[in-house]
Amino acid sequence: MLELRVAAVATPCPGVRSLTLTGDGPLPSYPPGANIGLEWAPGRMNTYSLTPSPDRRDLVPGLDPEVYRVSVALRPDGAGGSRALHALAPGDRLRATTPRSSFPPVQTAAHHVLVAGGIGVTPVLAHVAWHAFWGNSFEVLLVARPAVAPHAEDLCRLAGDRLATAPDRTAMRALLERALRTAPWNSHAYTCGPPGLIAEVAVRAREAHWVDARVHAEPFVAAAPPGEPFTAVLRRTGRQVAVGAGESLLDALERVGVPAPRLCRRGVCGECVTTVAAGRVEHRDTVLDDDEREDQMALCVSRAAGESVELDL
């Protein structure tokens, strides 16, 4: 874990707070699209994409950074993480994980089509800074309503005329059509934004004969869709934990005081992967492969497929 200090706060647009965080000396390097987990209450982590400084274009983005920058969209009805982070002031301290790669560029791509909506602009900004430094071929499509788009200016400075902005989803569809049907062979597309935008890109890409392996997405909506209630049986103690329809297995375990390692809470990091002793599982993660799913599950997003699941906990 890193011990960070808030060096500066800013409000790039209504509802979004940007935090500049420092440590003792240079911080660990990070790849484009990486995130860090910020501890907003004891044991409670939210992950946020790291965005490099748009001011130092001569430096390799992400290398031995002096500061970490994150932008936090306020979710008034969320679990409290964004509210707590919006309340931070310069000088406040908080703990953070080291950077995790979750949404990297594909090194073999001939061209990168980056699509962003809302606060999803943050990892895309990191990709753009990377490609601009290395001279890679890229273009950016941004859904942004004037005055409420965070980092639109930073993006404009880094991407220049390779940025196209659409005020709404209909206009974005036209931009997507053109980009996906004119991009060179072996281009890759990356979308960060709300689920609707991600789905839109996936559909348009498939129509334009893109294979799925060249279409990447990072959803920023953390909450897993609810499911049926079930019972988790903890094999080591025989204890039974009821998991409600609206909560995750991980949340239920935390609620009753059973510690489980966890980080991203959206099935990508693999920290909470646990051995399943019995019971069928509805897998909702993106970290386990088919072999691993035979006897493991990600507690944060996956659920019992029946009435119960028995865990090696």
Partner: protein, 324 residues
């Protein structure tokens, strides 16, 4: 026991048990490990008394056979990152004689021990006299391989390998991790490498691990690349050994695996350490374990490591000469 000579005292003896099987056996890098004769492992890059000579010989092999270096075009960013990681690491491990100064993207590299001074601008290909990975691989004793991470798999994207042990970087270029390890026999080994690949893909940015591999060979030449098989293959088969204590060498490979933090590629370093049996025998515990391992190898592993004949020969010599 009195203090062992330096090559023995710092030798990464690879066999912790009396039997051996293929395993992923990875552990955290940079951690000093005690042996019966001393310790090794605090540094990731080896630099013994003969450092300058080793670096020069490596360069001579490459200059004579440029095919010992390969790099896909898409490995450019990872190659630059590998260069930076290696120079930075060496400067940290040998302060005073090795130095990397940085001013923004501008770097000045000085290595007094091997007599190199070079300025370059990170990411500017024209600022170096050669490919960044060629330059990087010419500053260290280790062979250097860059494995790119794509589609949930690792791929051999680039490398400078002059000390291969019965493989060829030119032949392996572009292969997947599974393809690279296909010669290792047995279903268990296959599972080991599937697990190892998954482990490497999941490393967090900047994490570094290491593992040891080992074998026996008939002389002290570290270059057993298939590129030059014609110059050593016949002797190896003839097993024409007069003095096993001096001629037969334990070959230990110190393999480091670094998740490069910017590109997510895995930097794979292979350092070769050769020790003749007569020096292995200076440490009775090593001689006994090596003999025991050689006597109990499975036929598959023995065949893969080409120890069907050399193994018993070495074990018999060790049993005769190791002080008990």
């Amino acid at each position: 026991m009195t203090a062992a000579p330096d090559d023995v005292a710092t030798y990464p003896f690879p066999l912790p048990h009396d039997t051996y099987r293929v395993s992923a056996n990875v552990e955290e890098a940079g951690v000093e490990r005690a042996t019966e004769a001393g310790s090794w492992g605090a540094r990731m890059l080896h630099a013994g008394d003969d450092h300058d000579a080793v670096v020069r010989k490596r360069r001579a092999i490459l200059d004579a056979e440029p095919r010992r270096f390969v790099a896909a075009e898409h490995a450019r960013e990872a190659s630059w990152e590998a260069l930076l990681w290696l120079l930075d690491r060496k400067a940290r491990e040998q302060p005073g004689t090795v130095n990397l100064e940085r001013d923004g993207a501008h770097h000045r590299w000085t290595d007094a021990r091997i007599g190199v001074e070079q300025e370059f601008v990170l990411g500017d290909d024209a600022s170096l006299p050669e490919h960044p990975l060629t330059f990087a691989g010419s500053q260290v004793e280790e062979d250097v391989v860059v494995l790119g991470a794509r589609d949930g798999r690792l791929w051999l994207d680039a490398g400078l390998v002059v000390h291969a042990s019965v493989w060829s970087i030119g032949f392996d270029a572009g292969m997947s991790f599974a393809e690279l390890h296909r010669p290792v026999p047995g279903e268990d080994a296959r599972r080991v490498f599937t697990t190892a690949e998954r482990f490497l893909l999941r490393l967090h940015p900047g994490e570094a691990y290491r593992r040891l591999n080992w074998g026996l060979q008939l002389d002290d030449r570290p270059d057993l690349s298939l590129d030059t098989f014609g110059s050593w293959g016949a002797r190896r088969a003839a097993l024409d050994v007069v003095d096993p204590g001096r001629e037969v060498h334990l070959r230990t490979e110190v393999q480091h695996l670094v998740k490069l933090p910017l590109t997510g590629s895995v930097l794979f370093l292979i350092g070769v350490r050769l020790l003749p049996l007569e020096r292995v025998a200076l440490v009775p515990a090593w001689a006994n374990r090596l003999a025991s391992v050689l006597e109990t190898l499975t036929p598959e592993t023995s065949g893969y490591k080409e120890l069907d004949d050399l193994g018993p020969l070495a074990a018999a010599w060790l049993r005769d000469h190791a002080p008990t």
